[in-house]
């Protein structure tokens, strides 16, 4: 009943000087599922994302996306294959409006040759952009400079931009951090919808235990750069090692 793996990481390691941020990490993200990644601050979650999408070269190990070895590909090349990430610090184009942020995220931009680079974008792009801005609740603010939006709104815009790009797999780095708690349930629903309706596989770093238990089909837990546990949400919630890691770290 297990779906085939869309992402596979085998024995990946990454150090910064003396700091071992990731050590021998292996994991599998099955196609169509929502997989959670938890762990105390500094346990190496963001580093793992960075090595998967090509920001940092791996010290050791391999990464496979849809069966293809991608460890030596560069960030934009991996993105064009259909694996996208959002940033923990939230990154949008602050000097552009929400609509422009969305348009520039269209996958049509991936096709850039001499004839397309100088052209416009077809009206379908605007329709899709409006739908998605509506989906995350930013339609009204679509013509404001996105740098003037609140942090939470920027986070939602970044999510909408990622959806606009139509990835097969989306890596989200703490999507609920900094979001008004009253809006978190709405965001969880949208993440689930993106998974079910748009068919995007999600791999989500999440600090908030309640959120990840609600969201994920299965969960990996990192601590001190090592993979500590893997299982269903219930199993992880009751895993003594996980409980210790969280209590010990705070």
């Amino acid at each position: 009943m297990k779906n085939k793996a869309i992402l596979e990481v085998c024995n990946s390691s990454k150090s910064f000087g003396g700091v071992i941020a990731n050590h021998n990490i292996s994991l599998t993200v099955p196609e169509g599922e929502i997989v959670g990644l938890i762990g105390p601050n500094g346990s190496g979650k963001t580093t793992l994302f960075n090595t998967i999408v090509g920001t940092h070269p791996l010290d050791n190990g391999e990464v496979y996306f849809e069966g293809q070895e991608i460890s030596s590909l560069r960030v934009p090349e991996i993105a064009r294959l259909g694996m996208l990430r959002t940033f923990q610090q939230t990154r949008i184009y602050g000097g552009m409006t929400g609509v422009q942020n969305m348009r520039i995220s269209s996958p049509l931009i991936h096709d850039s040759n001499f004839s397309t680079m100088f052209s416009g974008l077809p009206p379908e792009v605007d329709e899709r952009s409006d739908e998605l801005l509506e989906f995350v609740g930013l339609y009204e603010k679509r013509n404001l400079m996105s740098g003037d939006l609140s942090f939470g709104q920027q986070k939602l815009l970044e999510f909408a931009m990622a959806l606009m790009n139509e990835p097969k797999l989306l890596l989200l780095d703490e999507p609920t951090a900094g979001i008004n708690p009253t809006l978190i349930n709405g965001l969880i629903d949208r993440l689930k919808l993106a998974n079910e309706k748009f068919g995007i596989t999600l791999f989500v770093i999440e600090h908030n235990m309640r959120v990840v238990m609600n969201l994920a089909d299965s969960i990996y837990c990192l601590a001190h750069g090592e993979m500590l546990a893997h299982g269903l949400p219930d199993e992880i919630q009751n895993d003594q090692k996980v409980i210790d890691a969280y209590l010990g770290a705070s």
């Binding site: 999408v53 920001t55 560069r74 960030v75 934009p76 090349e77 993105a79 064009r80 996208l84 990430r85 940033f87 990154r91 949008i92 184009y93 602050g94 000097g95 552009m96 409006t97 609509v99 422009q100 348009r103 520039i104 995220s105 996958p107 049509l108 931009i109 991936h110 850039s112 397309t116 680079m117 100088f118 052209s119 416009g120 974008l121 077809p122 009206p123 605007d126 509506e134 339609y139 009204e140 603010k141 679509r142 013509n143 404001l144 400079m145 740098g147 931009m161 790009n165």
Partner: protein, 356 residues
């Protein structure tokens, strides 16, 4: 329902175009005594527009764009001469005294020079760009500054193009005066080139090209993470600027009539800096800012030369300080900051939509 509705400077009143075009066409008749100043105005507008293509729209401050101007100047002059004479002998003799271009030779040579100057400058930018556009921020800026300093020195060392003693351009054939005067002829070239540059920029900023440049400016890492071919767009942006700058150099060389490697061609300390200032003064990252900035700067500069003779550089220095302190976003940038709704940045209530 246009397919390219992303204008980042709001819409422009068509009256503005009519006024500017009317001024451009009427200037040689109305103010013939100032024809060279107005010619320079068009070139300055081109300087600011092409600088802004990187500095404002893409966030890459280049202090080296003057390299393409000077390159175009030498390429054109050399082409004009070498098509009919021996280039080395021309420069050794000081040029115009011994070799005279016939009327048709003059204009065919000039046409070839204009075309080649654009192409060679563009090729140089593509080559340099693939090397140094990988540098970010200040490193890129410093590297381009180095290029602009080196270019003058290199030109001053090449005997074939007159080395440090410079090079004359072919003399305007007197026979052509019966058709058009020299000043008017070059004025028309300047005007047409500036208009072409403006149209090119306007077109680029209306489609995905401009959006990608803005994305690179706002967050290049994000643009890469979204799968954009950033390197391609960066190199092409520089190449396009270099193309127009190269042709402008070709025209300028012929207007001035004599090319000194440091004082006329690779003028990093004057034109090279002014192109930055003009774009910043008007508002970098906007279509009209560089145009406005160039016009104001040029008028100020002419006034300083007229009324503060001897102190003009001090006055210009003061102007620079005032711009940076009081208008860091430039004129249009400050307007956009204080009146965002004039530029279309406002809340839009949700339209009634019935699809579900």
């Amino acid at each position: 329902m246009s397919t390219t509705s992303t204008g980042n400077t709001g819409s422009t009143n068509p009256l503005l175009y009519i006024v500017i075009l009317a001024f451009g066409i009427a200037a040689p008749f109305v103010m013939p005594a100032y024809i060279q100043q107005v010619s320079f105005l068009w070139i300055f507008i081109l300087f600011a527009l092409t600088w802004d293509l990187q500095g404002g729209q893409m966030g890459y401050n280049s202090f080296g764009n003057i390299v393409f101007f000077g390159t175009g100047m030498y390429v054109s002059a050399s082409t004009q001469v070498a098509l009919y004479f021996d280039l080395g002998a021309w420069n050794e003799s000081g040029g115009e005294n011994t070799f005279i271009h016939a009327t048709d030779e003059y204009f065919i040579g000039l046409a070839a020079g204009l075309v080649l100057s654009g192409i060679v400058a563009a090729a140089l930018a593509a080559f340099l760009g693939s090397g140094i556009l990988g540098l970010r921020g200040q490193y890129f800026a410093i590297c381009t500054l180095g290029l602009s300093v080196a270019a003058g020195e290199i030109a001053a060392g090449i005997d074939l193009i007159g080395a440090g003693s410079g090079m004359s351009t072919p003399v305007w054939p007197d026979a052509a005066d019966s058709v058009i005067e020299r000043g008017t002829f070059f004025y028309i070239l300047c005007f047409m080139l500036a208009v072409a540059t403006f149209i090119a920029c306007k077109y680029l900023y209306s489609g995905r090209f401009g959006m990608v440049l803005n994305a690179i400016r706002d967050d290049e890492d994000k643009a890469e993470a979204m799968g954009i071919h950033t390197t391609r767009y960066k190199a092409l942006s520089w190449t396009i600027s270099a193309f127009f700058l190269g042709i402008s150099g070709a025209i300028m060389g012929n207007i001035i009539g004599f090319i000194d490697p440091v004082d006329v061609a690779f003028t990093g300390a004057t034109f090279g800096v002014w192109m930055v200032l003009m774009a910043i003064l008007g508002g970098k990252g906007t279509l009209w800012g560089p145009v406005l900035g160039a016009a104001i700067f040029h008028i100020m500069q002419e006034l300083f030369w007229t009324y503060f003779l001897g102190w003009q550089r001090v006055a210009l220095g003061l102007l620079i300080i005032l711009i940076v302190v009081f208008l860091p976003q430039g004129i249009l940038g400050s307007l956009r900051e204080h009146f965002p709704e004039w530029f279309g940045h406002r809340l839009e209530p949700v339209a009634v939509e019935d699809e579900k």
